[in-house]
Symmetry: C2
Subunit: 389 residues, 2 copies
Amino acid sequence: MRDVAVLGVGQTKFGELWDRSFREIGIEAGLQALVDAKLSSEDLGGLFLGNMASGALIEQEHIAPLILDYAGLAGRHLPAVRIEGGGASGGLALHQGFLAVASGLYDYVVVGGAEKLTDVADATAAQILSSTADHEWEVVFGATLPALWGLVARRHMHLHGTTREQLARVPVQAHEMGAKNPNAHFRNRITVEQVLHAAPVAEPLGLFDCAPLSDGAAAVVLGPLETARKHTDTPVRIRASEVACDAMALQHRRETTIGEATVAAAQAAFRRARRDPKDVRLAEISDGTSIGALIALEDLGFAERGRAGPEFADGAFALGGRVTVNPSGGLKAQGCPFGAVGVAQVVELVRQLRGEAKERQAPATELALAHDLGGTGATAVVHLLERAG
Amino acid sequence: MRDVAVLGVGQTKFGELWDRSFREIGIEAGLQALVDAKLSSEDLGGLFLGNMASGALIEQEHIAPLILDYAGLAGRHLPAVRIEGGGASGGLALHQGFLAVASGLYDYVVVGGAEKLTDVADATAAQILSSTADHEWEVVFGATLPALWGLVARRHMHLHGTTREQLARVPVQAHEMGAKNPNAHFRNRITVEQVLHAAPVAEPLGLFDCAPLSDGAAAVVLGPLETARKHTDTPVRIRASEVACDAMALQHRRETTIGEATVAAAQAAFRRARRDPKDVRLAEISDGTSIGALIALEDLGFAERGRAGPEFADGAFALGGRVTVNPSGGLKAQGCPFGAVGVAQVVELVRQLRGEAKERQAPATELALAHDLGGTGATAVVHLLERAG
């Protein structure tokens, strides 16, 4: 299997991009990544595009060739493939792009993620998001993603004594970082008080515990590690790319406060890279809800089971803490264009590993972890990235 | 790159399966393929699932883990990925499964395709199918897939003298083969007269020129060729798996009667396998419309440009002809559950290469080609399969 490196990264602003079409933002991110990798489109071998629900959201399926086409590349007749796994679509696209290069069949590929969530009414978008949970066993009974996460939060509080205030620290930190990220959907700082008094979404979760609906796109260029130096002084090697799945419906999980898909993907990734969670000082994790972020930290091995709440509140996961978590602002503050998230996480980590993250730069480190989640955890994708020089 | 073989195949009946859910048919096909490959689910390394529009059709995205879950495999935490490219979704899923095994990261995987089209009104389904064309440049102006193909047919007639009767021979042959396929949606024979006098859909295409909306699922097990003999006496090697794309909108193509994506994918596949179209005596091709089938035969190199119509009428592509085309009955008669089609084509070809196709068995041959198409041709996938012993 051939070693694979990230050679270039690109990303649009995340937010309510009402003046920009799906195809425009997809192209902007992809071209940025190509330029960053010093590649011309003639070197490009294919496109792997993560997207959750363009069919339902903008009545357009079959979007991978669409993006190539509007990038002016239709005449090249390149392969283009869309990958979907709810909120994990971007991470899955990266996995497919990784396999493509690792197999030797492809040399240079763009992996993109794009989503246009704000062109429909919020209620419609929320309904479409729920289609990433189990329709027949959850959604028809009225469950939404935040409602399901609300149940999980209650149980985590019951089992481990996690407090409402500890949950609130998650979005407060996210907005702190978002304020430093020019691409972030939200760049305002918020306080624990504001989180506690925000409108309830699904008790105990309020408005600030839940990531927003965002538009946005992100892209990376992958290629063989052996020729990476031609394209960048700081290639970032993909040391592991692992996917794991679990039961769709929360009620069919063994324990709702353990994300077994994340545990399985992380263990597989650490095994493959011959590293363990203690080696990781930098991570982008799925914080679609505050409780989801705390559970992910436990699933990934960054905190003992049940301890993520107090440790988060103690600053263990702040910029420069034990593990710098979500320096981008995460899904909460950088924004949550579902299919773009998993790719944007890697864009951020590559910038961090290169030392290009400016005021949100984490302490220098060589290893970073990206964690992307679909639904309430039926799909998890974990990537381990390592600075190759 | 590791050599990849098809070790097992499975397929549900295609048709209006109102009594069966999406998850049921997906599982039936997958389990059949596992049993056929003499694999237990414990040997399974992952699932790659082709599906066009489950989000819009059954309000369920994120379906790959759903299928694993309802197959009783959630506890294994396997990777599961959905791939979408309109009507080419199944072929693309096969490409991804091929890359997974070829890379060495996966050993045994199931590649499935599934679609449930008949649970919504026909008009709704037709609208959803149109989301695989260019929404902003075609669909908003009222174009549907058959309407676009109708334009292409007129132009093929104008350029090459293709006749309405020649077009009609395509569905007549499809139904002839469907009558011999117990899984086919349509098992009735039809006549040229019936095709010519059927209700118009988009002139010159009538009801019988267009494939139906079907439910159905198909699956194959892929694994390394080197260990294939443990699982089957007749492993079928994937000699080439190639994807190519073209402009989404018909009006942006250089020539609407040439499927450049198909040409590019086929040429790449023949180059990789060091074969040419003359070596192929057996093929499953995309016949979503009668004109689409004729153009595909020209694009694939089975007929000179403009000659597919008369040659089809002369029986060149009938069972035992120069190339036996669509012995399954094709999309027209076996049925057209979009995301399942590309996988079902390979199921049929494997059965043919093994000599298990009973009354629809083509003359013995070692090489076969599968051609899957998305939209009006923005995505094409070509696989070359070879009996390995």
